[in-house]
């Protein structure tokens, strides 16, 4: 009982953190990434200006830093990506630095895939 009180006290002193399972980690990361949906779409729009037929997939790996909750070490999974380097870089720039809150006691290691397609005519 007392240990619980101490834990709660430490939380109230600004040490808020979560202990997520993989599903919760994914849900919270989804929310953070969703804030960049428009920006990622803009990346694709710029790609389409250069190549009106551009489609493809981009898979990124990244780490969610337990100390900050930030998405870091973002990298392209080459064998699962076939978009142009420019589009890949654009998306990486948008994703890197996003944060989930509260931070977790453990790092997250994630793999996310974006599929860039044309809408049906």
């Amino acid at each position: 009982m007392r240990s619980f009180v101490v834990l709660v006290t430490s939380l109230s002193l600004g040490c808020a953190f979560a202990i997520r399972d993989s599903e919760r980690y994914r849900d919270d990361t989804d929310l953070a990434i969703a804030t960049k949906d428009d920006a990622v779409r803009a990346c694709y729009d710029r790609e389409l200006v250069k190549d009106a037929h551009a489609t493809g997939e981009l898979t990124l790996e990244f780490r969610v830093d337990r100390r900050t909750g930030a998405l870091t070490d973002v990298a392209v999974v080459e064998d699962r990506s076939d978009v142009s380097p420019i589009l890949a870089d654009c998306v990486m720039d948008e994703i890197a630095g996003l944060q989930i809150a509260p931070r977790d006691l453990r790092d997250g290691k994630a793999t996310y895939t974006w599929s860039f397609r044309h809408a049906e005519a």
Binding site: R26, R66, R106, W114, H118
Partner: protein
């Protein structure tokens, strides 16, 4: 005293224990789909070369009762010029103007001639086609392809056609191209 020590140790052990575990692995449940606009329709071109003629999947528009080509047809004419340039084996093309039955025969004949000549001039001056490859002729209302009693029929009859009257033999296009170049430089 003993109880106080456990208060400090328990959360410390708890935190260290959690942190010592490996990272939580996870991935996007499904691909995040980013939709762009529908792909552009491939422009297959409005001008096709057949054995007898250039088939134009559009129409050259003129100002009313005039041989002045409307600007909206400039792209089409540029396309026609491009196709002619891309086919040096088409040594001679007859640009043929036709009119509907509206108005006097003689007037329609003259108007169709002037319109055909106007197209020829445009293809030469703006499209860079050698003059020697193009003739122009007007047929007035003598060769209708549709019913002159209806608006749509008369609209179809008002037309310009591109008939192939001379073709170089396969393999001798070089001659036609060389001839074209000579005439272009001389004009």
């Amino acid at each position: 005293m003993k109880r106080g020590r456990s208060i400090v140790v328990v959360p410390l052990v708890f935190g260290v224990g959690i942190a010592a575990c490996g990272p939580v692995l996870f991935s996007s449940g499904s691909d995040r789909v980013v939709l762009g606009p529908p792909p552009p329709v491939e422009d297959e071109g409005r001008v096709k070369v057949t054995d007898e003629k250039l088939v134009i999947d559009d129409k050259i528009h003129f100002e009313f009762d005039s041989d002045v080509i409307r600007e909206e047809s400039y792209d089409l004419l540029a396309e026609i010029a491009g196709v002619i340039q891309a086919h040096p084996e088409l040594a001679r093309i007859s640009i043929e103007g036709h009119a509907s039955a509206d108005g006097p025969d003689e007037y329609n004949l003259e108007l169709s001639k002037r319109r055909a000549a106007s197209v020829r001039l445009h293809l030469v001056e703006k499209g860079g086609v050698a003059e020697s490859r193009l003739d122009s002729v007007g047929f007035g209302e003598t060769q209708p392809i549709a019913d002159n009693d209806t608006d749509s029929g008369r609209e179809k009859n008002r037309r310009v056609e591109f008939m192939i009257v001379e073709r170089t033999k396969p393999g001798s296009e070089q001659t036609a191209a060389a001839e074209t170049g000579r005439e272009e430089s001389g004009s």
